[in-house]
Symmetry: C2
Subunit: 291 residues, 2 copies
Amino acid sequence: MDRPQLPLNALRAFEVASRHLNLTRAAVELCVTQAALSHQIRGLEERLGVTLFRRVPRGLVLTEEGIMLAPVLTRIFDEMSGTLDRFSTGHYHETINLGVVNSFAAEWLIPRIPDFQRLHPSIDLRVHTNNNRVDLAGEGLDLAIRFGDGSWHGVAATRLMRGAMMVVCSPGLADRLRNVEDLLSMPLLRSYRANEWERWFAIHGLPAPQLRGPVFDTSLAIAEMAARSHGAGLVPVALFSSWIESGRLVRPFEALLTAGDYWLTRLHANPESTGQGAFREWLASSFGTEA
Amino acid sequence: MDRPQLPLNALRAFEVASRHLNLTRAAVELCVTQAALSHQIRGLEERLGVTLFRRVPRGLVLTEEGIMLAPVLTRIFDEMSGTLDRFSTGHYHETINLGVVNSFAAEWLIPRIPDFQRLHPSIDLRVHTNNNRVDLAGEGLDLAIRFGDGSWHGVAATRLMRGAMMVVCSPGLADRLRNVEDLLSMPLLRSYRANEWERWFAIHGLPAPQLRGPVFDTSLAIAEMAARSHGAGLVPVALFSSWIESGRLVRPFEALLTAGDYWLTRLHANPESTGQGAFREWLASSFGTEA
DNA sequence: TTCGGCCATGAGATAATCTAATCTCGCTTC
DNA sequence: GAAGCGAGATTAGATTATCTCATGGCCGAA
């Protein structure tokens, strides 16, 4: 249907009525009389050639067609409304509440935030770091960057980068490592992902080692511990390659463990806003130029 | 901004003008005069307290604020328009063009389509099978179900089910398999994913075997070949477990190879329609009830 | 029954929207 | 540098779409 034909006011009337299922109350929300709504909705039904409501003694019931139309319109008007609200201060501004797993925030995102700010000064990015156990809805987040295999319920996921893991340790400890078995002679720093070391050793045909010591909930802590010669750790290559280059950490073995990837996630229930789309594209292009 | 305050007509006027950057031409699209548009847009700017266009000698240029608003509105009105078009026949009907990787279509989707049809008779699902090499935009598909690790560009992915692979062969051949090495005595059926067998043998600490013979582009062909005693194949557990139960195939070893998962994918550029959302939720609930 | 809640309807009022005619501005062109 | 042109702005008045008011009909509850 072409732009000039869109019965915008009638659609709004229908949307409000579809939520109240009562013209009188819907009329209050729209600040008009019940009669006005009645006219609008009848007009819409005629225009579409479809019955949207079944009129029953005590009110309205949506027809099959009404059921298909109403939620789309509710979403559309909510989005319109939300977008217009972003102009309330006299210029556009949007807030994105972003959850980010600690290590990604520290090693990748935070250093690049100024670049995003420069490109999108009207978007107010609020970063909430976490240990990857993140509940988008419960924590009021719009987006979350997390580590995993992309399998989250009710979530649209966009892969950001590979999460292949490498073994790291301090330059001092590296001297003691001639072959893979030598790793067993030093503490192996553990994450809450239980079988990482087991799988790493399996690659080399070795049995699972006995693990002791504290469990860390972020690669950042593991990298720090490793850098201070407290043991060897498994950390994502993509995040900690700069530590290798600067000599803070050493990578004694080439083997990689694929444990998951980094993803940008959003609840399916919340459609993507302009700013969220801009952020996603900025992320994608940032990875694109690095590769 | 509350529903009654939404300046719908003015927003439509702005949206059209933002595409033409020329009030005169925009007026033609909206079937009104240039003066009408000029009024509407000035009214909108006053209402929002924001300048949306910079007036320049030969036309209009969007301001920063206009740039943020225009694409949202274009998407919104396109969606509205598309949704209303689905009523053109007098009742709601929507078409979803779905690309599906062969094996998933044959073993999982096709048998369940009647269930979806029953729940959503107004949605017309058109299934296009392919060998997983699918280009959503190029092939005019709305959605695609494919196998992989979720890493596709410009795509929102929702994981449907695990794609763990198992070794299968015919009951006859299974008798010859006492241990993993015995596999090397029979043809190993190849897919176009090159190193599957290599990785499967690596799990057992064995070197990569020499592979010969045809390469198949769908697990379905591999399963068929295996069932006819032409060799052993690697196929997804979730799709072919019924072949095991019926005795058509045998699973001689427990070991699983994780090669990827099955995903529902959609271009970020195309927002999800009602029907697409319904289809995604139907898929999710179908897997939920099975697990 | 009678009342109350709810939607439908038709005629007239109202307000939003549009048109027509005219201006202004600044670039082009000769 | 003057005329012409293409664009948006403006103003007043016309035109509609939209709304209100008053009323009617229907159905279930009291």
